[in-house]
Point group: C2
Chain length 146, copies 2
């Protein structure tokens, strides 16, 4: 496959594919002139990378996961990330409840509302970065049937 096909199949721009290759996350298997050639299984790779990103792994972490040939998934790392997600989920949940309460709370100042004060205590940690303009993400992974 050439880069355009991979881009289309994965939903990722060619620039990202080059970037991922440079980072060692994917490999091209040769060139046709200048042009990169990819094997079809790169799509699966990219799906895994996308998945990892969604789960909060950094590209570096993802890179450490697949060694040499094929994808060797580090189970401990997975479980650790799952635990981290648990904590995040809990915090986001309090946050969501707090926001809903704040929207209807009648206390004259939020600082006089006990729920709001509890919310303040819950916050503090767990700052969320604004995601990278995820305009429309159109990952078409129907994990192709050969």
């Amino acid at each position: 496959m050439d880069i355009a096909e991979v881009a289309k199949a994965s939903g990722l721009p060619a620039s990202t594919l080059r970037f991922y290759e440079e980072k060692g996350l994917i490999q091209s298997t040769g060139r046709n002139g200048l042009r990169r050639l990819f094997r079809a299984n790169v799509i699966e790779r990219l799906a895994l990378i996308s998945l990892g990103r969604s789960a909060g792994f950094s590209l570096d972490e993802i890179g450490e996961m697949f060694t040499a040939e094929g994808l060797d998934i580090n189970r401990a790392l997975l479980l650790a990330k799952a635990d981290e997600l648990d904590r995040t989920i809990e915090e986001l949940t309090s946050m969501r409840d707090g926001l809903r309460h704040a929207a209807v709370c009648k206390a004259p100042s939020h600082f006089e509302c006990p729920k709001f004060l509890r919310l303040l205590r819950v916050a503090g940690k767990n700052r969320i970065r604004q995601p990278n303009k995820l305009k429309e993400n159109k990952l078409k992974l129907g994990v192709q049937k050969k």
Copy 2:
């Protein structure tokens, strides 16, 4: 209060306070020579800002929330953010379950495991940026009693 006191009370470095002032998120009420003076209620402001950040608001969004004097919270914005949190929570939950499953799954390739494939479909959207090195966040908000 001078900037050092505010820094201590809020847990935020002075550089961040200057940055927030420049962004219009907090105000200093005057100067003693060159030195900024803050009113005590700036601590509450900072607590709100921290809260907003934790809930996923950008600084710009937070800035739009408190108009002029005092904090005027935009209820619609709050509810919208709460809904957004709901979606995020759902996705993170699938993600977490998927990770836990992947860690124990016996299928020869993850691509042969139906749960894993479902996980792949759930992902796609909702990329999480690595949080801003949140070494130790030590917000000491005991919301001071006058």
